[in-house]
């Protein structure tokens, strides 16, 4: 068995809302696999199904060789989980939290202590083992959760937004642990994130949008597939600029994050032509090599931040509708 995760046609709907619309992918053993997408794209729902916390409404998924629907316990024995929301007992010490986890998972008693030391040293919390969790900072708690997820030597570790809300320093140290872990324990890591710069650390990433995987490849291949530089210009009249770009250069431009944005094969050489031929005043211009942001934009038609404000606007609309009494005319 060389596949850690095997998913085909996985679906989940909540009533009429299709949160996940038939996703398929495979994750090899030892891989660091990232799920990238805005909030509400269906990442957490997918992770919940793979962790046996939610029942799929269609399709199948195997984790560590076991069916997530029919062999729930076997899946659970082989996975570690770090949730987006904290799930530690704040009244207990770090040690007590790990002890409790080991007991729940039936870890061999004589191995609990050495394993605990190992995972706590990895996340630099061994010195704080007898500290009560309620006194820990957000970063320490997340590190402790990672240590706890590893307590029972899982074969696949699921991390749902492991670095959300953390300062840059803690974020980078969490990435260091993940890399160390992968080398030391031959563990497969499946994570979700909506930080583009973090997705670069993954071996492969799948971009998810509106319940579907729009593209799946290595970060390098994805960036190469965009194959173009991103040019952003500031003008006084964005609509006129977009029309002029279409007419004179045959490029399709959109407004994103307050600037007219488009892609051309070699940006530096394009800029002089742009000034000469556009016929509109340009206030500023910037050219950048493709990043994962561009990859995301190419495949989904919006930047991840725009997609998030869209989906939160939609959520607000739904909330408003619920609060004001549904389809009242």
């Amino acid at each position: 068995m060389n596949l850690a995760i095997e998913v085909s046609g996985l679906q989940k709907s909540f009533g009429e809302i299709e949160a996940v619309r038939g996703v398929s992918f495979e994750v090899a053993r030892g891989e660091v696999f990232g799920f990238l997408g805005p909030n509400g794209a269906g990442k957490t729902t997918t992770i919940n199904m793979l962790c046996t916390l939610a029942r799929p409404t269609g399709g199948s998924a195997y984790v560590a060789g076991h069916d997530v629907v029919h062999e729930r316990d076997d899946v659970r024995r082989n996975i570690g989980l770090v949730f987006q929301d904290p799930t530690l007992d704040g009244y207990l010490t770090a040690r007590q939290n790990l002890q409790l986890h080991a007991e729940l998972y039936g870890v061999q008693s004589q191995l609990i202590e050495p394993r605990m030391q190992q995972v706590l040293e990895m996340v630099d919390l061994w010195d704080r083992r007898d500290g009560v969790v309620a006194t820990f900072s957000g970063g320490m708690r997340r590190r402790l959760e990672i240590a706890r997820g590893l307590m029972h030597s899982p074969r696949v570790l699921f991390l749902d937004e492991p670095t959300i809300g953390l300062d840059p320093q803690t974020r980078s140290s969490i990435w260091r642990y993940i890399r160390e872990l992968q080398e030391a324990e031959e563990i497969t890591i499946f994570m979700t994130t909506h930080y583009m710069d973090e997705a670069e650390f993954c071996d492969r990433i799948a971009i998810m949008d509106r319940g579907e995987i729009v593209v799946l490849d290595t970060p390098e291949a994805l960036k190469a597939s965009v194959g173009a530089d991103r040019v952003r210009i500031q003008t006084d009249d964005d609509d006129a600029a977009i029309a002029a770009l279409g007419e004179r250069f045959d490029v399709e431009a959109t407004v994103s994050e307050g600037a007219v944005t488009f892609f051309v094969p070699s940006g530096e050489e394009f800029v002089p032509r742009l000034f000469a031929e556009l016929g509109l005043p340009i206030r500023s211009v910037s050219v950048s090599r493709p990043t994962l942001d561009d990859v995301f934009m190419t495949y989904t038609g919006s930047t991840i931040r725009d997609a998030e404000s869209d989906s939160s606007a939609m959520r607000n609309q739904i909330m408003m509708r619920v609060m004001t009494g549904g389809g009242r005319r």
Partner: protein, 286 residues
């Protein structure tokens, strides 16, 4: 350092009755560890029962002297106080399941490769232990209300307290499983605990009640704990037969007085049924 490269591997065994027993044990231990670290709770949950016993008991004693045939009202309501102190603590223990849900810890237990029933059983045993301990504190006050410290009496009451603690925790968990917020649970608890206390006969003899009250009294689980405790206490008191008849008439079903053992059986049976319902409900939540 060579130890850094050496990975300690552990493995998770397949599910068995042993792994379930271990899970139950750790959930049970967690309740006790948390109770011990929360000294304030030990004190606060004693306030109300002691208020009833010493303030209400002493105050109303002036009024009721004629009806109690010379028995101190505090002595009479003492078994009821033993029961409610257990009940308050047990309900509070059950609340921890709502707490755990609200603060995320429940999820950690739900994804472990164990049966959900193990979580519920561990919680109920933990709540029973904690509430039993709380009951012992009130039991230690027996001398202050003219109840002798006889080993048989103390052991009998302690056994009944444990039984009641288990049943009430199961009841609380059954209610708590469906509730997502601590505040709502506190509200529901207020709505349930006080009526159960007032209907149980903790404060008055259960014979000669108006029909509607008698019916409500007989379906209140607490009745079946208060009565055998009172019977135990009164067996060890030196009082007139008239007082005995007036104050300890016993619980009757259609005129038949239930034996204490059957009453204990009723509590146990109720507890097991409610535990069953709690497990079933807990299994149904996603």
């Amino acid at each position: 350092m060579t130890t850094a490269t050496q990975v300690i591997r552990v493995s998770v065994p397949r599910r068995s009755w042993r792994s379930e027993a271990r899970a139950i044990k750790i959930v049970w231990q967690r309740e006790i560890v948390r109770f011990k670290s929360d000294k304030l709770r030990i004190v606060t949950s004693l306030v109300q029962p002691l208020l009833f016993l010493f303030v209400l008991g002493a105050g109303l004693n002036q009024l009721s002297r004629a009806g109690t045939h010379g028995v101190d009202l505090k002595t009479f309501i003492y078994p009821g106080i033993l029961c409610i102190s257990v009940m308050f603590t047990a309900m509070f223990s059950a609340a921890s399941i709502v707490w755990d849900r609200e603060f995320g810890f429940l999820r950690e237990m739900m994804v472990a490769p164990i049966r959900r029933s193990s979580i519920v059983i561990g919680k109920c045993l933990g709540g029973a232990t904690v509430a039993g301990f709380q009951g012992v504190i009130v039991l230690a006050l027996a001398g202050l209300v003219h109840v002798p410290y006889t080993p048989v009496l103390l052991l009998g009451i302690f056994a009944l307290q444990l039984l009641l603690a288990f049943t009430i925790t199961a009841f609380g968990v059954m209610v708590a499983v469906r509730i997502k917020q601590m505040q709502s649970f506190m509200g529901v608890m207020q709505m349930i605990v006080m009526p159960m206390f007032f209907l149980s006969g903790a404060l008055y003899p259960v014979a000669g009640l108006p029909a509607w009250l008698a019916v409500l009294n007989r379906i209140d689980p607490l009745t079946y704990a208060v009565d055998p405790m009172r019977r135990l206490v009164f067996q060890h008191l030196d009082i007139s037969p008239a007082a005995r008849l007036a104050l300890d008439p016993g619980v009757t079903w259609w005129g038949w007085r239930l034996p204490a053992l059957l009453e204990a059986g009723v509590i146990l049976a109720l507890g097991l049924v409610m535990l069953g319902i709690a497990v079933w409900e807990f299994n149904a939540t996603e």
